[in-house]
Symmetry: C2
Subunit: 236 residues, 2 copies
């Protein structure tokens, strides 16, 4: 089974949804047969590479009311995150571009498969939401990526150029084709979708559905028995 | 889409079922995307490599009444075959073992894919039911197999040894696992089963079901929208 998750590194509900999916997987009996792939999505492609403000400042500017109003908008999501054991300091997160983080996530998938990519995704989300790190900064990205096992030369090489930029855009186009208006957006075996950070029970439900689809009892079409031959002879 | 057909070379309903499936495929709009694979099944593994009687003689001996009674048992299937344009002389067919024919069918699949295997299956069924040929005889098998395009050296090499014997047995075990009590037995995309030579309409029905399954609309589980972030910000 394959779960593809369209997600952004700076998307709070994506991190919350990650914990809820992990809860569902922890009790799913066939979890060893589930592969999780992280697909790229950019919520704010116009965000700068070099940050000039926090998310709270940006929200206050965009919707009015200043930093305090922006911070109030973040309060609820921080409270929900806390329920999932995530101690966000999202009010202090920087508004930054994530294309480079996504390019390194593609490098991780290509060189180390879903396990390595999963470790990098977790590290990036934690760095951004808990440590308020600048996940657009190349030195920061290199440190985080090598910390989970990527090769530092390759990370630096990728960051210095435009490698995987097309793969990032292809992921985004794919999300749009699936009708995803936002993230997180989950696609299971290209058959089931889950839109948004749904409760763990919803993930359990979709895992069970997809598992049943992969382990079908044959559905006998046309009734149990047409004319046939068996060990005792042929229908006559 | 993949149709796997468990079948024996000496099974009259298998040949009749083959024509009925071909009828359904002829009018199926996506027939170019359907792959047909022939899986091995032996109705009579104790049948001799060197024939000693016809099928009519064998049936008359087994069920009583002699050759005439045996032949009468074959009459109906010959009449039904004629309705499908198949002019059987099955009353004169020899009771023979089919393991070698199945081994060559595996060789055909491995070396030439489903197309070559399909041509060989048709040629073997025609040889047995229409021409009353001995499909256990190595020279006959070699002639039939090379006639549809197999390499004669490889056919002779396979027939001289035991190559593909395990694959034949694995196919038979697989049929049992699917609950097939006889043949023909059809499995579509490992999801739908058709037991016996059902009418062409049944095959049309299963083709349409399987096609619909492969072209799903995403089924959104958990309602249309959980908390998410979009271009205009995050759910708060």
């Amino acid at each position: 089974m394959r779960i593809e998750i369209w997600s952004d590194v700076v998307c709070p509900w994506c991190y919350i949804g990650k914990r809820r999916l992990e809860q569902a997987l922890a009790t799913f009996p066939h979890r060893d047969e589930v592969e999780v792939l992280w697909r790229s999505f950019q919520l704010d492609p116009s965000a700068p590479e070099v940050p000039v403000e926090t998310v709270a400042e940006s929200l206050g500017r965009k919707y009015g009311g200043g930093t305090e109003a922006g911070r109030a908008m973040i309060d609820r999501v921080e409270a929900v995150a806390a329920e999932e054991g995530l101690l966000f300091r999202h009010h202090a997160s920087l508004r930054v571009n994530t294309v480079d983080a996504h390019r390194v996530l593609h490098l991780a998938l290509e060189t180390g498969g879903p396990d390595l990519q999963g470790r990098l995704k977790e590290a990036l989300l934690s760095a951004y939401f808990v440590e308020t790190e600048n996940v657009a900064d190349h030195a920061t990205l290199t440190r985080i990526a090598t910390g989970v096992g990527l090769d530092s030369d390759r990370v630096e090489e990728v960051l210095a150029g435009r490698e995987y930029a097309e793969a990032v855009q292809a992921d985004i186009d794919h999300a749009v084709a699936f009708g995803a208006g936002g993230v997180p957006f989950y696609v299971v075996d290209r058959k089931y979708g889950v839109s948004g950070a749904q409760p763990a029970e919803t993930f359990t439900q979709v895992l069970e559905k997809a598992w049943a689809d992969l382990h079908p009892q044959l559905d006998l079409v046309g009734g149990p028995e047409g004319d046939a031959c068996g060990p005792d002879g042929c229908a006559i």
